[in-house]
Symmetry: C2
């Protein structure tokens, strides 16, 4: 199996993609911070199925971490990442240095759309500015025709969706379902932080989402009652601190007065020293909703 | 002489450039707000000389005007613009609607680099965010290899330079000298606002810059004295209000303690209801500067 071409240099990455595109090759891009798990690899798989060639970026982006967050201890697993990408027949791995992506004086940023303001934006004030900026930069350095993101980072998907639309970026986006462990835990590079006991308590997030979804399908339409139910499940699981449990419009993330056709429940909670997020789209078909009206 | 292709639709503009690029055509881009004058046309000329094909955008960008500014009365001279562009053998004119560039909910923006904070940024707080955003959008819709801007908008050139560097935009930039009337007045679409009397008073800007440059070449190295001289010339010319007279580092726009190798003097002043800007790079050769030390 051929190893992926590993590129650290920005110009080389750009020229590689452009020269290949000129020959008709359709590229798919999977931006990551490394510490790859099956969620990332499902994105690679989707890119492989849609595109002729796949580029994966591995870059722990400092501008999306706040002061006191886990930038320093964020897992770096380069050898294992590269082996996994080789196994998944990735063509190009782009792994730039921090200095090459953010040289001194680099202060231009992307200010994300209104969808970034609440939820993660409230608890991590500069997070989405960092995300939007690095994603736009990667889209320029690696001008693929298609990019793939995981819905585990639901709000991030909407930030990127809005950025691509608002700034007319010429790239197609695919958002892929969250990959979970058999017991429901959403895959995350940060799961490596969890002790066995924390790992059990972390199940509270997916269980809370499942409980709210089940109750919604039984007919509950009141967002506050659904949020209260999910909060109770989280507390019963013994999480240490809840940042938010929010049922929102799935497209705009605005609060809902009543559960509508497409809603999403989003959770952020702390288990030990680890902050976890998870979400679940709660789809109540229109006729079902109407019959409750 | 063939008329330029006029394109209003974003997708059509993108596909036109991309298909042409695929055949090896090198495109030059000249973003404008219309009301074209010989300054714009010198950019078109430069693009013609450097590139195989030239695209000019005509779009009065609302997001770079502040409340109470001249968005509504900004001159629109579509027929004359198109005739001039035809005469200059422009290949493509892109003239989108406001609604297509800023559809409802379009809130993602480019936050410009630190170079935007002072001077124009102080008097027109959201101006450069609007400029950076529209320029990035136009670069995406019309993916040319080369773009041309006029140094009359000196700070804008630096904002665009920083944006292209910081966000890794794959485009070459050329900044071209300000074109002036015989008596020194910098060409500007806003000169159309000036009455005959205002037109005479407006000469204060270029005269102030010339006076400061002459004094610098005579050996004056003190920025404050050079600024005071320029201010005096402006006042003598009878301008109504001075926003700033500033001698700055030509690359970073930071204030200088002493006139150095590359400095720029920038002026913004009001003549009647018209706000005008002008600037002049004041280049004192290193040996000349050293001999004064």
């Amino acid at each position: 199996m051929p190893s992926p071409t590993v590129v650290h240099d920005l110009d080389q990455a750009y020229l590689t993609i452009m020269q290949s595109r000129a020959q008709g090759t359709k590229w798919g891009l999977v931006p990551t911070m490394g510490a790859l798990h099956d969620g990332h690899l499902s994105l690679v798989q989707a890119a492989r199925e849609t595109c002729d060639a796949v580029a994966v970026t591995i870059f722990v982006n400092p501008t999306q971490f706040g002061p006191g967050e886990d930038l320093d201890r964020y897992p770096r697993t380069w050898e294992a990442d590269l082996a996994a990408l080789e196994q998944h027949q990735v063509d190009l791995v782009f792994a730039p240095t921090i200095e090459s992506m953010y040289p001194p004086g680099c202060t231009t940023r992307v200010r994300p759309s209104d969808v970034a303001a609440d939820l993660e934006g409230r608890f991590r004030p500069d997070h989405f500015e960092g995300v939007a900026t690095i994603v736009l930069k990667l889209f320029q350095v690696l001008p693929a025709e298609h990019a793939f993101f995981g819905q585990k980072d639901y709000q991030q998907c909407l930030v990127v969706r809005d950025m691509v639309r608002d700034l007319n970026l010429p790239i197609h986006l695919s958002f892929r379902p969250t990959v979970r462990e058999a017991d429901g835990l959403a895959l995350s590079s940060r799961n490596r932080y969890l002790s066995d006991v924390d790992r059990q308590r972390a199940l509270g997030l997916s269980r809370a989402l499942a409980a709210a979804a089940a109750r919604a399908h039984q007919g509950e339409r009141d967002p506050q009652r659904l949020e209260a139910l999910a909060t109770q499940v989280l507390e019963d699981a013994g999480v240490d601190r809840i940042d938010y449990v929010a049922l929102r419009d799935a497209d705009t993330l605005v609060p809902l007065k009543e559960l509508a056709d497409r809603a999403v429940m989003l959770i952020a909670a702390h288990v030990g020293a680890t902050r976890l997020i998870d979400n679940r789209v709660i789809s109540v078909v229109a006729s079902e909703a109407a019959s409750q009206g």
